[in-house]
Symmetry: C2
């Protein structure tokens, strides 16, 4: 079976093998294998987000293992849940796969999804497997606000400080190294497998964050979402270009009232002021970020 | 702007235009435009399922309008929610799109998704838009069990009757006509835009369904899921081949205790007996159904 493919084991053979790799959890009331899953939503609300990863755009099979792609795909969605101040509870995964994709690749992808989701206690509860020329992975993450209000992008106030949890620029640096031929090292690994600070989402919400956002497109671009949604000006501290514009690290950026005692693990990277809803860096106009169709 | 493409308006331009087409609903506590949506889950549980549609596999742009593809994509996931006995509450949509896809196509797709979801009161609450050589649409549907237990595939009992809500064989007949060159007619439309009997999911649950399944791969194949999950034998009544093996109509098949007063709109199509977990048709071995990699 070492050379089995999606075509050779068939749709239902592949699904059965994937489900065998998964595990349950108390909040999963009905897991994979039926028409739909049933997941607990203890406070009567559910946080939900979807992210799509495409081979050649978000990952390359010659640069990343299937396991790393699974970790990265789960991280992209789970970071969005954390950015609302919520805790992830479940993942659903859609896999559009070339017929000749080795079954081993799909199973290692499953292991990566499962292990990343395990970091927050959010098992894979459902999925779909279909045929496609292009390898596309869709991950929906569900989450629990634990009774708190969601932290949106729209609540930043003049006078707030801008704070960061997690790393920035490392994924972009790793991508540059991969493009230059490197295949090993901490930065390369940071690109293959980002490490979002999931626990800091709820921590920042409890600390009183007025707005929060996952940094997936670059700090300037994602703080720009906060500036526009909150109709405030944001001035970021001077920093190197990769820190300001590198995407895919999935750090969390938030705004806090200036008199807030900073939680451990966050640092101030800018300030919110009244004014036009734009982002500046040390008072100078800033640009940058990732557009999928540019 | 009539010839605008994803590339010409950019990722965020496309997202803004899509969000403009959408509407809210009381159960949507936070709609599109943030890192994640927040949806009410009134009984403390959420039903969740994902389906993926791929151009050239599930639809052709020269056979179906973008609006029809949106209707069909939403229907596939919402029928899975209905098959649990639940009511749809929200959709999340991932669109992997070639850069030259006309913006008008994406917006008509959005309209189709929105209008199909409106049939059950489940607005589009979130999504993702990325670049891909192959056009792939992932739809996650969420649902509300309204305090009931989910109806799984695993509860069928010897002595139950097998009942059907909705049409079968029409989508497959329409596909055959499209392949033969037809471009109009009721069967062609049934393939382009299935009409699942959403309301019958909760109705069958309330009537005491012991198992239920959406017919997406063909009646024999999907009743086979019930037979295996419930470890029962199912004998279907004799019928024509398209009725028994045609997929994508998204009818609902369920089992009910034989003394149940049949709800309006359902008919008996077979019986559950003790015995090997296989499906027969009028006592004869049956085969058929769709495998994505066969």
């Amino acid at each position: 079976m070492a050379d089995a493919t999606a075509r050779s084991v068939g749709e239902f053979g592949l699904i059965a093998r994937v489900i065998d790799r998964l595990a349950g959890s108390p909040q999963v009331l009905l897991g994979p294998g039926d028409d739909a899953a049933v997941v607990a939503a203890p406070d009567g609300r559910v946080v939900a987000t979807i992210d799509v990863l495409v081979e050649g755009v978000h990952f390359r099979r010659d640069w990343s293992t299937a396991y790393d792609v699974g970790r990265k795909a789960a991280a992209a969605s789970l970071a969005d849940v954390a950015a609302m101040g919520a805790r992830g509870t479940a993942l659903l995964v859609g896999l559009a796969s070339p017929p000749d994709l080795p079954v081993a690749w799909s199973l290692e992808l499953t292991d990566g999804l499962r292990d990343e989701a395990k970091l927050v206690g959010a098992p894979v509860v459902g999925g779909d497997v279909v045929r496609s020329e292009t390898l596309v992975i869709s991950v929906t993450a569900l989450g629990d606000l634990e009774g708190r209000e969601p932290v949106t992008r729209a609540g930043a106030q003049a006078g707030d400080v801008v704070v960061l949890a997690g790393e920035l620029g490392r994924s972009a640096a790793g991508l540059g190294l991969l493009e230059a031929g490197a295949r090993e090292g901490a930065l390369v690994d940071a690109h293959r497998r980002p490490t979002p600070p999931y626990a800091m989402g709820p921590v920042l919400a409890i600390a009183g964050a007025t707005s929060m956002c996952d940094v997936s497109d670059g700090l300037v671009a994602d703080v720009g979402h906060i500036a526009r949604a909150s109709n405030v000006h944001v001035d970021l501290d001077a920093a190197d270009e990769l820190f300001l514009t590198g995407g895919e690290d999935h750090a969390l950026v938030a705004t806090l009232p200036a008199d807030t005692a900073l939680p451990a693990g966050v640092r101030v990277v800018g300030r919110v002021t009244a004014g036009d809803a734009v982002v500046t860096v040390a008072g100078q106009p800033a640009a940058g970020g990732w557009d999928h169709f540019a």
